[in-house]
Symmetry: C2
Subunit: 796 residues, 2 copies
């Protein structure tokens, strides 16, 4: 085939020129690789691109292949099959299923949706169930369609922040009341302080949304402006915060339900886990559906708060804001600065979730950053109004926190009595608390995605599920939150002290990062921007220190320990991936000019003379052999002629599977050694006889294993061969009987699996499994081909 080979030689040069034109060079190429990371979530980009030096190295390796091409004819021959199997139908019962369709480019195939349907009956039922629960799979191209309008995004992303109005003020008042009912009046200045904090942090995040239109959470902002370690600390804080958000929200939501229906109290943990599972399933279905399901409760809750606070304040206005006497409670502690600070940091938990929007900019409709900023402004406004309103209503109604009834419930009773409206308020509160966990389900996987893109988290978090959701991240969140929730028995109060440290660490680092950004960039108006961010940073930092210090013994120490531990883990992951990337990068080809064929290059082992064993200490001989061929870097080969090899075939009996494995090995054109492990001398003799009867076509080594071990001698023998020549690749060809049904696997010794697993640890050992399938009564692929042949015959 002269044309063929000429064509193949001509092609690379032409194509390389073309490729060189397309791939940007220098810094540009590196940017190309990182650039794909810039546009929010790419459901496809899991393999990073090559930088310039990697690209050049690839070309050099290819050049080397071309030089050795003439020596290795076989692999350039025509395939016995057509690789473009256009629409090869798959006969399955009465249906013809099309697994592949022609792609857009002439040389590409398209995997169809039908392919995802599994084969087995049980698998199919499971598949159908899954499809019913979470909907049909979505194409990657659909990622652009799944964007949210502001009105829906507000509901989804702010349920966390807004719902914290239900427990933030209460947490603050609960601390104050320790100093007696007189201390409750200090709620007003503390509330003002927290409102200022909300405003500052909110304005600060408005800057972030504009500066990071691709969704700059605290992690991204801190990492890009302060460095990797601050970024990781922010990420660790956020991750803990998200897990706690889910656990706390579900715990307090279930609390609201069980206080209405006390008989359910014993089932708290089970109920919580069921809600968690529903949230997980709802979120896996995807963003849009989640939005529709989860938008209503947030608005109902907003409505409820406005209703009860409005009515309450209207009543107070009628009383000309005369404060009724609060129920007298005697303090157990003096009203010191520590108590005030503790109350302040408890009240500041109302701010959790404020960062959600800045983290999730890309899920907004275009122009995403502008819509996100508007939504953030709305959210901050609502949060401040609702928070301040609740504080004011409490003050002017003269309420005090008490066990058995929440503050919100007290306001509601005061404002709307105990009828249907009260029930509506309580139901909306319970719902929004349960659904606040949903925000974390949106943000946690996204954070992991960003981290995985920077190789700080396992690559599996880059993968979008068939519904375009980050299923893996959601699963991790659900599992972690479930563990936390269950191990605290669904007790909200026990969880609260762990809460604020993570959030405010992330806030502080994020605002610090923004300040640094403006300081560097000095774009128009940078002084104003930096002022916003610096104030946010300072205030968040103060709250962080207060939270950590005042709640340390109450539980914050867990978070203080967990954050550095997580950061350590992230860096380990990062280091591992860096090491892998260096290890798997292409390198210079061994030897500048192409060498001869491997079979001509490998020196054969010294011939074995009859008396040698007795005369010379064999250990020395082996050591010398090992010395001669010790190579520096294992598994560096990048070109066919660099690979020198021979095959080892472990043979238990001379039956058809083994014979097929021997035949397969022989067809690979490399020297072969057969290996037989025998439990004793007689068995060995018998096997050797059979081997001679067969014709002794291949060298055979028999190992007597008097302790009846089989796997260990095989492994150790191959290791010993490897030590002799660690530059030679050993292909271990293992025959394996594949039974029809799973239970039948118990009837086989499973030696092949154990050998394969153990050999995985030995360098430069390639394991080849030659399967021998026991025949099914009617195999589907065979049925299909016979049917096709019948049709073809009929047509002819």
């Amino acid at each position: 085939m002269p044309e063929k080979s000429k064509k193949s030689k001509a092609k690379p040069a032409r194509k390389r020129a073309h490729a060189g034109a397309r791939v940007r060079t220098g810094a540009g190429a590196a940017a190309l690789a990182d650039d794909t990371a810039g546009h929010g979530f790419d459901p496809a980009a899991t393999v990073p691109g090559l930088n310039e030096s990697e690209y050049n190295q690839l070309c050099r390796v290819g050049e080397h292949w071309r030089q050795v091409v003439t020596d290795h004819g076989a692999w350039r021959q025509a395939l016995p099959v057509r690789s473009d199997l256009v629409a090869t139908p798959h006969q399955r019962g009465r249906y013809t299923e099309v697994h592949f369709a022609p792609g857009d480019a002439p040389e590409e195939l398209l995997a169809t949706q039908q392919m995802l349907v599994p084969e087995g009956a049980v698998d199919r039922v499971r598949f159908r169930l899954r499809r019913t629960l979470i909907g049909p799979p979505l194409r990657s191209a659909a990622v652009a369609v799944e964007r949210l309008r502001k009105i829906v995004a507000l509901a989804i992303l702010s349920s966390d922040a807004l719902s914290s109005v239900a427990y933030g003020p209460e947490a603050m008042l609960t601390v104050l009341v320790v100093a007696g009912s007189g201390a409750l009046s200090r709620a007003i200045p503390l509330g003002v302080a927290i409102t200022v904090l909300m405003l500052a942090v909110g304005l600060s995040y408005r800057q972030t949304v504009r500066a990071y239109p691709s969704g700059g959470g605290s992690y991204t902002v801190a990492r890009e402006n302060l460095g990797e370690l601050p970024g990781l600390f922010a990420a660790a804080g956020l991750m803990i915060d998200y897990v706690l958000t889910v656990a706390v929200s579900i715990a307090s939501g279930i609390d609201a339900v069980t206080s209405a229906v006390p008989s359910l109290t014993s089932a708290t943990v089970v109920l919580g886990l069921v809600v968690l599972a529903l949230l997980f399933a709802g979120n896996v279905r995807g963003v849009r559906e989640a939005g529709l399901i989860f938008a209503a409760p947030t608005y109902l809750f907003i409505l409820a708060i406005f209703l009860i606070v409005g009515v309450g304040l209207a009543d107070a206005a009628q009383r000309h804001f005369a404060v009724p006497p609060t129920p007298l409670i005697h303090g157990t502690e003096g009203l010191g600065i520590i108590l005030l600070l503790r109350a302040f940091s408890s009240g500041a938990t109302a701010m959790t979730g404020i960062e959600a929007i800045s983290n999730a900019v890309p899920i907004f409709e275009p122009t995403a950053w502008r819509n996100a900023r508007t939504t953030l402004t709305w959210m901050i406004g609502l949060l401040i109004v609702m928070f301040a309103g609740v504080i004011a209503a409490v003050h002017f109604d003269g309420l005090a926190p008490r066990t058995g009834e929440t503050i919100l419930s007290q306001i509601a009773h005061r404002s709307v009595g105990s009828g249907a409206l009260y029930a509506f308020v309580q139901a909306a509160t319970a719902l929004v608390l349960l659904l606040a966990a949903n925000t974390a389900f949106n943000d946690f996987p996204r954070l992991l995605y960003y981290m995985a893109r920077n190789r700080h988290a396992p690559a599996l978090f880059l993968r979008m599920g068939d519904r375009l959701a980050f299923t893996n991240g959601m699963l991790l969140l659900a599992v972690l939150a479930g563990i936390v929730f269950a191990s605290f028995g669904g007790n909200t109060e026990a969880l609260i002290p762990l809460y604020a440290v993570g959030v405010f660490l992330a806030f502080t680092l994020s605002q610090a990062g923004m300040s640094m950004l403006w300081l560097r960039r000095r774009s128009p108006g940078w002084r104003r921007s930096i002022a916003f961010n610096a104030v946010g940073c300072a205030l968040s930092g103060i709250v962080l220190v207060i939270s950590g210090a005042t709640k340390f013994l109450a539980g914050a120490w867990v978070v203080v320990v967990a954050i550095p531990a997580l950061v350590f883990l992230f860096t380990r992951v990062r280091n591992y991936y860096a090491r892998v990337r260096t290890a798997i990068a292409l390198g210079p080809v061994d030897g500048s000019e192409p060498a001869l064929l491997p079979r001509q290059r490998i020196a054969p082992a010294p011939a074995r003379s009859a008396g040698e064993r007795a005369s010379a200490p064999a250990g020395v001989t082996n050591k010398q052999v090992a010395t001669q061929h010790s190579s520096v870097d294992p598994e560096r080969e990048q070109s066919p002629e660099e690979i020198h090899h021979f095959a080892v075939v472990p043979v238990a009996a001379l039956d058809r599977p083994s014979m097929r494995a021997l035949a397969y090995a022989a067809s690979l054109s490399m020297p072969i050694l057969a290996l037989h492990i025998s439990p004793n001398e007689e068995e060995a003799k018998r096997f050797e006889e059979y081997w001679q009867a067969w014709g002794d076509h291949l060298p055979l080594q028999v190992v007597i294993s008097p302790y009846r071990a089989i796997v260990v001698p095989v492994i150790r023998y191959i290791e010993a061969l490897h030590r002799q020549r660690d530059d030679v690749t050993i292909t271990v060809v293992i025959p394996e009987i594949v039974p029809i049904y799973g239970w039948q696997r118990l009837l086989h010794a499973g030696i092949s699996t154990r050998v394969r697993r153990a050999l995985r640890e030995v360098p430069r050992v390639v394991v080849t499994t030659v399967p021998f399938h026991l025949r099914r009564p009617a195999r589907r692929p065979r049925a299909s081909s016979t049917r096709a042949s019948g049709k073809a015959a009929g047509a002819a």
Copy 2:
């Protein structure tokens, strides 16, 4: 190398003649295969020998290989390593470990004991612990040494039978007393009947021991003389009996302990499981140690029974055998024939374990069968004397069964008071009951071994552990007995009704088989022999029917259902192995004369023209391709030239692991197709660019997978290739990164493992894993070779 090839051609003919001389032909060869099964347990014989036609087939296949040898040069070339690695030292820290030593024959290697020591630190600790618990490994040759003297064998093998004296009489009296204390006098005739039964069955088994010196349990006797199905029924009965023996013995032993120390009652199940674990460990240590540990309690128990019965009967003799009045108990049922039969069958549980010796003849010192027969006679004698003595003592002391105290305890109180002697009697009883379970631990695995040799049980029960014990069988027994024991909560009474059916089924079938043997053989004295066995058979059969009928509703139905279920399972296993044996047997070589090289034989796929895709319906083309090459029988190849193949290399990125896999595939001299799965068009374009940059050395097929699946398209694509040409072997070469530590595996997607697992189901697909090892800071084999080189340099 002309000498080499000449030698290799000359050798087979010579060796075949030699082999032909050694292997007996015709029925002799078949006998050779089965003969090894004749001498008790062979720790080595797990692979059956070839019969004559199989042997001839092997020679014909070998002949075919020789004819094609000239076409395939490479695999006859010299190996680059020395296969006889004599005493290759393994440097491990400061120690040099020798894994291989020269074998007895010049071409054999010997695996040393040192090899069994694992590599990892944790594994080593576990290994040491194991060695401390169960002792060092034993060579297969040691199996002959591990034989038992009669005095030890009696203790081990009869603890089951003798200990049943502790519950058999009591079970009978408990049934009788339902008809009032007056009915207790019927114990004497029933006892005489059971004694006659014991004598008949005992004499019958004496015949078995002589006729089956290799250990003929009920299974073997029934199978060889009555046929396979009766043999399996006997085996099923015995297996259930063994499991129940362990559960009942431990339950009643623990009962005895807890009635002495009532505070332990709540821990019954835990205590029982601990005892089970100890028994298991003791038995895994091996036969001899087990004998020394377990001999004492049996003799102490015999002593105890003789003591209390002797003193009791001596007292009665002083009273001139006047029977004192029994405590008056009013009957709740009339004394009908049914009640008497129930009492009889309950009393007959004292016979369980009588078959143990006949089952275990080979563990006796030579001459095994003679020693076994003597021991059996002793045991029957002891059993009859003890059983009759207990019945007599109960009668002459005027005792009646009552809750809270066992009959034996009552006799002991009457005879030796409540002092130290009483405590000794109770302790001996408790110990022997616990240790009766030990008999089952000797017999159950042995039964499984015999069954596995006939392919009625999984082959793993053929394997002797490193202590020459059938560890797998013991483990199965321990697990099953543990489940039964725990699920009945350690309640003896609930277990007893399940007990007799299995034993007496085995007894009956065994004696029937012996009768048939004598009838066929008609050796001298066959009439006397047949009389013994026929009487034993008839009596056992009567007890079987009585037991099954009278206890059916009380629990025997479980066994009546379980026995056929087990037999069904055994036949399924047998059928499966038969199918495997047929499937894996060598067959005639495809085509009489050797064909050309594979690469010249495979027709290339029709060339792809640019317009073809649009013009012709591609599905039809593919069907035609499938029609042309549809072969009849998959995976029949037994000779290198029959294997036609090409390689598919799934490539995710052009990094070093993938490049090495491509280079490896190219070095195999077969056509190659690279396969890339891309999530979208842009990624595909980028990859194709890199491919061009590399030089486009190999055909590449890109599949776009818009739903982001990776594994499924790879599998489906290879399946589609297979359907095109199901006579061609597809070698799938998968690059795999092997991380250093286990946790790092989480950081990889594990695609290669999933692809390999899924491809196992596709016929004629060989999976080759090309590993890429991330480098450990210091690898042991490397250290060894550098150290060796240093030494060699020093010596030079």
